[in-house]
Symmetry: C2
Subunit: 423 residues, 2 copies
C-alpha cells in the first residue's frame, strides 16, 4: 500500500517568532503517521495573507491532505478563515447555528461576548464546520478535486480533540479501498528507545506487511505496530500476532495500550483489587498526587497525599522520628521508608508510597548529588525502597520520580518484583 502524503501548516506570529514551540506539529505528525499517512512537510507562516496563501498553494501542489492550525481566534490578526475563502475562491457567510452556539457559550460562562467573536462564526461557503466543544472557535474542512484542507484552532487541547473526533475519522475514508490497515500503539515503561529497537528488531520478521515504529512519550515509550492486509481481518490478525510476540518478549515492561497512561492503569488495578492508596512526597512536590488525581474517579482509591517539604512536616504529618532525620538526613532510605509507613498508617490505607530526594538545582552534595531520590512503598507485607539517581533539571527529576513511583505501585499490585533499574 502506498502511503498518502500530508502536510502540516501552522499559522501564527507567536510560533514564527519563537514565543511558542510548535508542539502541535509533532502531535499531528505522530497521529497522521499512526493513521498511515506520510507527512512530507511542516510549515509555519505569519498572520499575513500573502504568506498564508502561498503556503496553501504549495501544500495543494504536493500533498493530498493539508492540516492547518491557528488563526481562528476572534482578534484582528486571526485571518485563516478569510484566507481559506480567498484560496478556494468563495465568499464568507455567517453560520447562524455556530453564532448561537458561541452566544450560548458566553452566557454559560457569564462572560460578555465581544463583537469580534462574531468573526468566529464566519465560514467560507462550502466549508463543513468541525465542532469545537472545548472553545469558541469551530474548525472547518474544504476540498478541491482530491485535495483536502482541514482548519483547526491552534489551542492544543481544542485542536487535539477536533483531530481525534473529526479529522482522523474523515481521513480514514480517504485511504484507498481494498487496502486495509490495522494499527496498535503499545505503551512501555522502564526500557530506553534504542534498547527497545534492539530487542524488537526481528519481532515482526516472517509476518508480511507489518512495520514497527518507536517513539518516546517521556518518560514512557510507545511501540507502533502497523499491519497491512487485503482484508480488515488479515490486517488485524497480522497485527495481533506481532503484538503477542512483543508482549512475550517485553513481559511486564508493557503497560498497556497507548491511550492509557500509567496512572490510569494503576487506577484500574487499585479499583479492581479494592486497594486504597496514600502518598507522601518531598522532592516531587505533589506531582505524584496530581497525576493520580488526573484520572476520573480516582477518589475511589486515592485517599490523601502529603507534600512534606519541611522536616517539621515530615515529623508532624507522618511521624518520621527526628532522630532518624538527624542521623540519615531527609534524603535517605530510612526516611523514605518511615514516610511511606507513616502515610499508610495516618491514612489507614493499604498502600503508602513516599518520595524524597534532591530536585535541585541547589542542595546537592558530593555524597548526595542533585537527582538522588529514594522511593519507598509500604504494604501489608512490608516496605520496599529503591535508591535512584536521575539526571537533568528540576522538572525532569520530578517527572522521573513520579513515574517510577507509579510503576512501583503497578508492579506491586501485579505481584511483580521491580529490580530497581532500567533495562
Amino acid at each position: 500500500m502506498e502511503t498518502l502524503a500530508a502536510e502540516i501548516i501552522a499559522i501564527g506570529n507567536e510560533v514564527l517568532n519563537g514565543e511558542i514551540v510548535n508542539g502541535n506539529a509533532a502531535y499531528l505528525s505522530s497521529r497522521l503517521d499512526d493513521a498511515g499517512w506520510r507527512v512530507v512537510r511542516h510549515t509555519v507562516v505569519a498572520d499575513v495573507e500573502a504568506d498564508i496563501l502561498q503556503a496553501f498553494r504549495e501544500a495543494e501542489s504536493r500533498a493530498r491532505v493539508a492540516i492547518v492550525t491557528g488563526g481562528l481566534g476572534p482578534t484582528r490578526d486571526d485571518i485563516t478563515s478569510a484566507c481559506a475563502a480567498r484560496f478556494f475562491g468563495v465568499e464568507r457567510r455567517l453560520d447562524e447555528a455556530v453564532l448561537a452556539g458561541i452566544q450560548a457559550f458566553f452566557e454559560r460562562v457569564h462572560y460578555p461576548m465581544t463583537e469580534n467573536n462574531r468573526n468566529q462564526a464566519m465560514f467560507p461557503e462550502g466549508a463543513v464546520v468541525l465542532p469545537n466543544p472545548l472553545g469558541t472557535a469551530p474548525g472547518f474542512r474544504m476540498a478541491r478535486a482530491d485535495r483536502h484542507f482541514f482548519f483547526m484552532p491552534g489551542v492544543p487541547r481544542e485542536m487535539k480533540r477536533m483531530m481525534e473526533h473529526e479529522v482522523l475519522p474523515f481521513l480514514e475514508g480517504l485511504l484507498p479501498p481494498g487496502s486495509h490497515q490495522s494499527t496498535v500503539l503499545l505503551r512501555v515503561f522502564g526500557i530506553g528507545e534504542s534498547r527497545l529497537d534492539e530487542r524488537l528488531s526481528d519481532a515482526a520478521a516472517g509476518v508480511p506487511g507489518v512495520t514497527l515504529g518507536f517513539r518516546a512519550d517521556f518518560p514512557e515509550n510507545l511501540i507502533r505496530i502497523v499491519a497491512e492486509g487485503t482484508s480488515a481481518d488479515e490486517a488485524q490478525e497480522r497485527r495481533d500476532g506481532v503484538r503477542a510476540e512483543i508482549e512475550a518478549r517485553l513481559g511486564d515492561l508493557v503497560i498497556g495500550e497507548s491511550d492509557r497512561r500509567i496512572e490510569a492503569v494503576v487506577g484500574e488495578l487499585l479499583r479492581e483489587r479494592k486497594l486504597r492508596l496514600a502518598t507522601a512526597e518531598s522532592c516531587s512536590g505533589g506531582l505524584l498526587a496530581h497525576r493520580l488525581t488526573n484520572v476520573a474517579g480516582s477518589s475511589d482509591y486515592f485517599e490523601r497525599g502529603m507534600v512534606v517539604y519541611s522536616n517539621e512536616a515530615k515529623a508532624a504529618e507522618l511521624g518520621v522520628a527526628e532522630a532518624l532525620l538527624e542521623a540519615h538526613g531527609a534524603v535517605s532510605e530510612p526516611v523514605a521508608i518511615a514516610m511511606a509507613e507513616g502515610v499508610r498508617r495516618a491514612a489507614g490505607v493499604d498502600l503508602g508510597i513516599a518520595i524524597t530526594g534532591i530536585a535541585g538545582p541547589a542542595g546537592g552534595t558530593e555524597e548526595k548529588p542533585v537527582g538522588l531520590v529514594f522511593i519507598a512503598l509500604a504494604t501489608a507485607e512490608g516496605t520496599r525502597a529503591h535508591r535512584l539517581q536521575f539526571f537533568g533539571d528540576r522538572e525532569h527529576i520530578k517527572n522521573w520520580s513520579a513515574a517510577i513511583a507509579l510503576n512501583m505501585i503497578r508492579m506491586h499490585v501485579l505481584g511483580l518484583e521491580w529490580a530497581g533499574r532500567f533495562r
Copy 2:
C-alpha cells in the same frame, strides 16, 4: 525601518514524524527576532534530496538569510552537505584541518572513530566552515548574490553555541546601518485574549514604529510589544512608553515579564516578604503544590501541602469539623475556609490556601455542578473565600483552580483585592 527576512529550515525525519518537537526553530526565531530579523517561515523536510533542494530554492526566493539545521551527522541519511553542494552547483572536498580536528576529538573521548565520520569533514567548495567545539560536525556558510545560507547541526547544544558565536555576529554585518528594534513580552492573568485586544487596541496609537501582539499561554495571556527606531535608545524608549501605557490600563492584571510564570512571581513575593505558605487541596489534587514546587528554591517559603481527597483526611489533617462537612458538604465555602485555616494552623505558617470543588466528570448535582470550586485564603488578618464556576474537562478545572489560587496569593501579598471574577 524595513526588517530583513529570514527563514528557518529543519532537515530530519525525526522532526517530521513527530518524534521530536522542533524546539530549535523557536530558539532560532527568537534570537533572529532579537537581532532585528523578520522570520517569515519555518520549514521541516525529510532527509530526501528532492525535498531539501525544493526547500532551499523556496527560501532563496523569499529571504535574505536561510538558517538550516540537521543532517550533518555521520550516517547515510545525513545528506545536508551533499545537497548544499548540489544546490550551489559545486563539488565537495575534504577539509584536512577539520578531519584532523575530528580525529583529535575521538582520541580525546577514547572512542573509536568510524569511517563515516570522514563525511563530516567534507564541505562544498567555497563554504566557510563554522567551528563546533561541542561536537564532531562543524557547520558552514555559503552565499549566492545577496542570499546567505547557514548550515548547522541539529543537536540543540551544538547548534546554539554556533548560532551565538558564528552566525549572529556575521548577521549583524548584514543589517543596514541605523535600524534598531526593541521587544518586551508582558504576562497578564485574569483577562481573556479578545477583551485584552479590545482594551489595548489604541494603546500604541501615536507612538510610531510600535506593534502589539497577543497570545494565550493558558491560563495566562501574553502581550508582545515590538518597537523600532533609528537608534537602540529610540527603539527602547518607544517600547517603554507603550509598556507604561499598557501597565496603567491593566493595573494588577499584569503579572510581570513573560519568562516568569505566576508561581515564580508568587515565590519571589513570598521570599521578599518572608512569608511562608501551606496548601490544602481537594479537587486540584496536588497541582497547586506541584506548580509552587516547580520553582527552584521554593522550600524557602513552601512548608507543606495536603491533598485531602477523603472527608476523613479533611477532618484528621486539617481539623475540619465533621458537623461542618455534614451540614454544607465537602464542596462549600465553610469547608474551604476551615481547610485554609486548618492547614495554616497545622503548618504554623503565615498563609494557608485551600481548594475544594468538583473536577468531574462525575459527582456533579444541579445545586453543585461539575466545575464548582471554592478557594479560600487564610491570613493573619482573616480568611477570604471565593466561589467560582469553571467549565471544561477535569484537567481544565484543575488548571484553573490552581491558577486562581496562585493569583489570590499574589494579590493578597501585594495588598490588592481580587473581585473574584474575570474582566
